[in-house]
């Protein structure tokens, strides 16, 4: 390797482009240092450091949103910086910020090490940010594994709870399986692309752009098709699409509620970020294979998610399975984006859907965290009976969040669904659209069932008595409590306002 080549490679290492990720990693390390350096009674300040640090980073990323490096590849083609990547950065920062907040509330009630939780959340979210900007299978796999390994720990974080440990084990096994599939697919693609007997063979078959050129020159190659399907399978594990959703109910139930939120929102969004990147760059020449595959997956995911959620009584399982149906709606948007003419608009619709899904989901998970009983995994619908009388504010936030997830106007979720539906109609996906519409009607039943329990159900005396002592937060100072309530109020307000007035944000998402 010549000196010039090294020189060129070094030049493409624009560290300035990944300052957010690097500083997130540094912040994570700082937390560990602080834990050692600070006296024990000052430890409760560390979560605050994590939260304030992330907030500062979020502001920084937003301020430099239109950075000069947009549209360029850095680190020798490992990363590509785009508008979509910037959006996902903000998305993951927001998600990890909210998870940290929920984690602070949830961990305050338990005798568990706290700092590691925040540390891992930060590392995972930095990895997700890199993942969303990856332009190379090596980067993709390394980032994805960082995320997955982080989640192995987070899912079984409540180590005293057998359900949490069980969830961790299940996530470990299925996660390893999905990583295996993904890796196998990558290797196949790399191998095929490197075959010198084929037209346009390339040594850098891991690079999305080069792979795209190669695939365009070799349509209908069997091994390449197999590789693509395997990679898509690996990604579908992350987004929880049918039939790769088997891990979801148990893992969502067993994982600590903040981690469930992280899985449900950020991990799913990360899956969609890579899915969108892959189908629009590397796999674009194989649209003839990708579109039918994703169409079938979307249909099955919509049907399965909604029907399975109907019978749930545990709210964490319910929200997990309803999340499967949301994956179906998002897949519908992804399929729509693969049809000529509506690509940009459909990607905008998917991103808007993700954004409002984040707002609504965290509103719901926030309420769940506040009301969680000592055994985190056993949150039943019955616990919400009469919530509107006991805690009107939380009941209001819950109703707004669930209403938005169900896609009821005037909440933001409706606009998200509408945008996806319009794009699907534009792309002439009538059958999928019909299934999605029926899915919405079915989903009303379980979302509204939850709201009904919270608002119309009469709470019995014993439940009221059991609920009262929890509200004080076990003698904790109610400062964190107030902050959480404030944030929940913000999420609900944003969900409401985005439902009827999207303003510049709407223009940003849809008019591209």
């Amino acid at each position: 390797m010549s000196v010039e080549l090294l020189q060129a490679a070094a030049d493409s290492n624009r560290w300035g482009a990944i300052i957010p990720e690097v500083s997130l990693g540094c912040l994570a390390l700082l937390l560990l240092v602080l834990e050692m350096a600070l006296p024990r009674r000052a430890h409760r300040l560390i979560p605050a450091v994590a939260i304030v640090g992330q907030l500062a980073l979020l502001v920084g990323v937003l301020a430099c949103f239109n950075a000069p490096y947009l549209g360029t590849e850095t680190f020798n083609g490992l990363l590509v910086h785009t508008r979509d990547g910037q959006f996902m950065r903000v998305f993951f920062l927001l998600a990890s910020l909210l998870v940290s907040l929920l984690g602070a509330v949830s961990l305050a009630r338990r005798q568990l090490p706290r700092i590691e939780f925040f540390h891992i959340v930060l590392v995972v979210s930095a990895a997700m940010m890199l993942l969303a900007q990856s332009n190379h299978f090596v980067m993709l796999f390394v980032a994805l594994e960082t995320v997955t390994v982080g989640f192995y720990i987070l899912v079984s974080y409540f180590r005293a709870s057998p359900l949490s440990l069980e969830a961790g084990l299940k996530y470990l096994i299925t996660g390893a399986l999905s990583s295996g599939l993904l890796l196998f697919g990558i290797v196949l693609l790399y191998g095929v692309a490197g075959n010198p007997l084929l037209v346009g063979s390339t040594e850098s078959g891991m690079h999305f752009g080069h792979l795209q050129t190669f695939l365009a020159a070799n349509p209908d190659h069997f091994l390449a098709s197999l590789g693509i399907v395997l990679v898509l399978c690996g990604v579908c594990f992350k987004i929880g699409a049918f039939p790769f959703q088997i891990w979801i109910p148990d893992v969502y139930q067993g994982a600590p509620t903040p981690v469930t939120a992280f899985l449900a929102v950020a991990s799913k969004a990360a899956g969609f970020a890579i899915l969108l990147t892959l189908v629009h760059t590397a796999f674009a020449p194989y649209a003839g294979l990708v579109v039918p595959t994703l169409t079938v997956l979307a249909a099955l995911t919509l049907i399965f998610g909604n029907l399975a959620a109907l019978t749930q009584h545990n709210v964490k399982r319910l929200i997990g399975l309803s999340g499967v149906s949301h994956a179906g709606f998002l897949l519908l948007g992804v399929v729509a984006s693969l049809h000529a003419g509506s690509a940009a608009s459909a990607i905008g619709a998917v991103q808007f859907y993700l954004a409002v899904y984040l707002l609504a989901s965290f509103a719901v998970f926030g309420v769940m965290t506040q009301l969680a009983p000592a055994e985190d995994a056993t949150q039943e619908l019955d616990h919400y009976r009469g919530l509107a009388k006991r805690q009107p504010f939380l009941a209001f936030v819950l109703a707004v969040g669930l209403g938005s997830l169900a896609g009821i106007p005037p909440l933001a979720g409706f606009v998200g669904k509408l945008a996806i539906f319009i794009n699907a109609f534009d792309a002439q996906l009538y059958v999928l659209l019909g299934i999605a519409i029926l899915g919405v009607v079915v989903s009303i039943y379980y979302y509204f069932g939850w709201i009904r329990v919270a608002f119309f159900g009469e709470s019995t005396e014993s439940e009221t008595a059991a609920a009262t002592p929890r509200e004080g937060g076990d003698g904790q100072p109610c400062c964190g409590c107030c902050v959480t309530r404030f944030v929940l109020g913000l999420l609900a307000a944003a969900t409401l306002v985005l439902g009827f007035y999207q303003g510049g944000l709407g223009e940003w998402f849809f008019s591209r």
């Binding site: 608009s345 905008g348 209403g403 009821i408 106007p409 005037p410 409706f414 606009v415 509408l418 945008a419 539906f421 319009i422 109609f425 534009d426 659209l433 019909g434 519409i437 919405v440 009607v441 009303i444 039943y445 509204f448 069932g449 009904r452 608002f455 119309f456 009827f500 007035y501 999207q502 303003g503 510049g504 944000l505 709407g506 223009e507 849809f510 008019s511």
Partner: protein, 535 residues
């Protein structure tokens, strides 16, 4: 036109919504004034737009204004305006809203603040539905008004409220979703890249949709709207829901919100997709005549529960509205708009009075009532008047609506006309029988016991004012139908008639009538004039 320094339509929509938020935030003692403001201002503005509604508009919109909300990519903007079809309904929403609000204020419901706030949200949605020119916001405001209904049924409802709330939610969501798909279909297929009704009309006049597209899109809209308006056999949510709903919510929903579907069909579906309409009207007329009018007419007669009976009667009257639509003529559609307003006022009055009766007898079971007129003569008088209005006695607004529908229906199909007129006899039977059972005759043993425990008082002023408001509106339109029929005629003749004409099979329906609803009650022989206009 308006000389107000602000946009009357926007203020009419926002003032109830703001009042709702303020009621929840402010202390209890501010609730009543805020509610007065939230219900009164839209009513005043509605009357203002009615009074100042310009003549000679044709199908154009008055009081128009437009505000961007960030969805310009899809051609969505908050475009407000009133034309001859929407103005009467906007006025209806204002009046019924005020009556429902006043009735709620005196009801002394548990958690009154939340109750008022939800009603106000509903009111804001209702004003928005009829003021929107943009189809997206038309749908959006409907849903905004619908959500509080579910909650109110669930919290303050009567018997079976949980079941009723769930059933209502699922049925109405299904209807709304079908409507939404139909609207998206029109949006995408028209190629107008806009949800603005004016732009859609322009695009579709220049380049009508293919007939197959019209066929399925109109079908989606017809059954979507049909569920929302309780088209037989998709009506089962209505009596159950109204039976369980608290009075003010039932007044607003049955009186105003339900008209959304009919309004959508008249304003959007018929002129945009005349060919599709022509294909479906046969089935629509059959379902409406046999199902809504005859079957439900007999079902209504069999009801013992007063509130259920009112609910079923409202389903039955929707049959007349569907029949009027099925005529695909200016007369028929004009009659539908008149009937929508009249029925909205009269059914709201009936729900109000039924609840007042319930407060005095502690039951809705008509078998256990009787002789209430001796204790509450004013209530009895109101009830008899409302019943007469429901039957369609001349002098009440309903008469003109039903009359012009029958006139139009005769040229569509004499058989259906006979069925429809027979339905009037049914409604006279159950209406008068209910009045007789509740108010006249000797008190039953059960009622005597209730009356002994707590002597039933006559209608209080707090109840009389909203009832009077509704009755006055009914009589006003009944004696001066021109106040509504003129703008309606303007909007329905001209481009509307031309568009609908284009799709109608010429043999079935004569379209020679230029301004048939322009009947003036003050002039003698109005009835004959209406008939000659059609001939």
């Amino acid at each position: 036109m308006s000389e107000l320094p602000f946009d009357p339509l926007l203020v009419a929509i926002l003032s109830p919504l703001c009042a709702a938020v303020l009621i929840l935030l402010a202390p209890q003692r501010f609730s009543a004034p805020l509610a007065w403001l939230g219900f009164g201002l839209p009513a005043l503005l509605a009357l203002h737009t009615w009074y100042h509604f310009p003549s000679g508009l044709g199908g154009d919109y008055a009081f128009a204004s437009e505000y961007g909300t960030g969805l310009s990519r899809f051609g969505i903007a908050l475009h407000l305006g009133l034309n001859g079809i929407s103005m009467p309904l906007f006025a209806l929403a204002g009046i019924v809203g005020l009556a429902a609000g006043l009735y709620a204020l005196q009801s002394g419901a548990e958690r009154l603040r939340l109750y008022l706030a939800l009603l106000l949200v509903m009111q804001g949605g209702l004003m928005g539905v009829f003021a929107s020119v943009d189809v997206f916001f038309f749908y959006f405001f409907h849903e905004l008004a619908l959500i509080p209904t579910f909650i109110m049924v669930g919290i303050w409802g009567g018997r079976d409220r949980h079941y009723a709330a769930m059933k209502l939610t699922i049925y109405l969501t299904l209807g709304a979703m079908l409507t939404l798909v139909g609207l998206i279909a029109v949006y995408v297929q028209s190629g107008a890249q806009s949800f603005d009704l004016i732009a859609l009309r322009a695009a579709l006049t220049a380049q009508p949709l293919a007939e197959t597209v019209q066929h399925y899109a109109f079908g989606l809209l017809l059954f979507g709207f049909g569920i929302l308006v309780s088209l037989w056999p998709l009506h089962t949510w209505a009596p159950l829901g109204y039976g369980a709903a608290p009075s003010s919510a039932a007044m607003l929903h049955a009186g105003v919100l339900k008209k959304f579907g009919l309004y959508g069909l008249v304003q959007i579906a018929l002129p945009l997709m005349p060919f599709g309409a022509a294909k479906w009207v046969g089935l629509l007329a059959l379902l409406a005549a046999l199902g809504n009018v005859l079957v439900i007419g007999f079902v209504t007669m069999a009801q013992r529960d007063l509130k259920q009976m009112v609910g079923y009667s409202s389903v039955m009257h929707m049959g007349y509205a569907f029949l009027g639509l099925a005529c695909l003529s200016t007369v028929g559609a004009g009659g539908v708009v008149l009937l929508m307003v009249a029925h909205g006022l009269s059914v709201a009055l009936m729900f109000l009075l039924a609840t007042s009766v319930h407060q005095r007898t502690q039951t809705f079971d008509m078998e256990q009532m009787g002789g209430l007129a001796q204790r509450a003569p004013v209530l009895a008088a109101f009830f008899v008047a409302a019943t007469m209005a429901g039957i369609g006695l001349p002098g009440f607004a309903n008469f003109w609506g039903e009359l012009s529908i029958f006139v139009a229906l005769w040229s569509f199909s004499p058989v259906f006309t006979v069925v429809a007129v027979a339905g009037i006899i049914l409604s006279a039977i159950y209406g008068l029988r209910a009045a007789a059972r509740v108010f006249f005759g000797s008190p039953t043993a059960e009622f005597a016991r209730v009356a002994e425990a707590q002597a039933p008082a006559d209608l209080r002023w707090a109840e009389r004012v909203p009832a009077l408001l509704l009755l006055a509106a009914l009589l006003f339109i009944g004696f001066w139908p021109k106040s509504i029929s003129e703008p309606v005629n303007q909007a329905l003749s001209g481009s509307w008639a031309a568009a609908v004409d284009a799709g109608a099979p010429a043999a079935a329906i004569p379209f020679s009538a230029p301004a048939p609803v322009a009947v003036d009650a003050a002039a003698p022989g109005a009835r004959a004039a209406a008939f000659t206009a059609v001939d």
